[in-house]
């Protein structure tokens, strides 16, 4: 009876089976991880974007040049808002033909004009989704007029 008891190897087989299954699981998980790192460069794309930009230099230059133009100031002084709106739309169309800054984000420039507290012009070239951030805002005050340019972008942030 002692011999038959000692000849049983079920406990050893139990240990081995546990390790076999554990090995298979470990190898599977490691393989997935290594493949993910090796084959998917986009997952680990380390391209840097400047997320914390508050102003856009080229936009500011465009807008200040636009307002330096006596022709545009005269239109504004004559309160010809429809003509001014046409000129602003032309400006927006050339400010960034390849907006946004990267291929992964889309957006556009918008404009508002207030005479005192009354809104005279509102140009929205981008349909904003809910909870969008207003980026690169520039405000100008010309006597009683307030002009506001800003960008709106999909993907949460303009870059």
């Amino acid at each position: 009876m002692q011999n038959s008891f000692l000849n049983t190897k079920k406990a050893q087989v139990g240990d081995t089976m546990t390790w076999l299954v554990a090995t298979l699981i470990i190898v599977f998980v490691i393989t997935i991880s290594v493949l993910a790192v090796s084959i998917s460069p986009k997952l680990f794309d380390k391209q840097i974007y400047l997320d914390d930009k508050k102003k856009d230099l080229l936009a500011a230059k465009s807008i200040s040049g636009f307002l330096e133009n006596k022709k545009n100031v005269d239109i504004l002084n004559k309160r010809d808002y429809s003509k001014f709106e046409v000129e602003v739309k032309k400006l927006i169309s050339v400010m960034y033909p390849y907006f946004p800054f990267t291929k992964d984000f889309s957006g556009a420039w918008n404009f508002e004009l207030y005479e005192g507290e009354e809104q005279r012009i509102r140009i929205l070239t981008y349909s904003p989704p809910i909870n969008i951030n207003l980026e690169f805002e520039s405000k100008f005050v010309l006597e009683n007029d307030k002009l506001r340019f800003w960008a709106e972008c999909s993907g949460g942030r303009c870059k």
């Binding site: 680990f44 080229l58 200040s64 040049g65």
Partner: protein
């Protein structure tokens, strides 16, 4: 029959598994952190901003005479020299066209750097071998006694693949 031998065999096997997992973790970490950060697009944008700042003051274009064009790099504080001798890592092109159509040239272009990069861009726009920034802005240029509205378009391309991509 005792099981001491079986425990010793399993211990060796345990260490094999341990080293396998450790090796995989080291490989994954080194693969991720071994990749350099790609700052070329930021660099291209900074170059565009630098050039725009150089060309335009208070919304008006500076005078683009022969002297300015000949010393353009020095006047705009640009330096295309890198550690890679012989190969140009940068390309810069500035166009001056009429507003708003942009069809007619107002002044001659300013082009500097490695021309091959532009040809490469035209062929493979999304290639990882370089990054580019293409932007334009509105400005006023002197036209005799009056001022002309122009669009300044700036294209900057940065190669530097060895330092930014793997």
């Amino acid at each position: 029959m005792n099981k001491i031998g079986a425990d010793k065999v399993i211990s060796v096997y345990w260490f094999i598994i341990l080293f396998l997992v450790a090796g995989a973790v080291v490989y994954i970490v080194s693969e991720f952190y071994g990749k350099p950060y790609d700052v070329r697009e930021v660099e291209a944008n900074i170059m565009v901003n630098q050039v725009a700042d150089c060309l335009s003051e208070n919304g008006k274009l500076i005078e683009l005479n022969e002297e300015f064009r000949n010393d353009f790099m020095k006047n705009c504080r640009l330096n295309f020299k890198t550690e890679f001798e012989g190969e140009g890592e940068y390309y810069l092109e500035i166009n001056f066209t009429d507003f708003p159509d942009g069809k007619n040239k107002v002044f001659s272009d300013i082009i500097t750097g490695n021309l091959n990069l532009k040809e490469g861009l035209l062929i493979t726009k999304d290639s990882g071998s370089f990054r580019y920034s293409l932007k334009s802005f509105y400005s006023l240029a002197k036209d005799g006694d009056s001022e002309k509205e122009i669009v300044v378009k700036i294209l900057s391309i940065v190669r530097k693949t060895e330092k930014n991509a793997k």
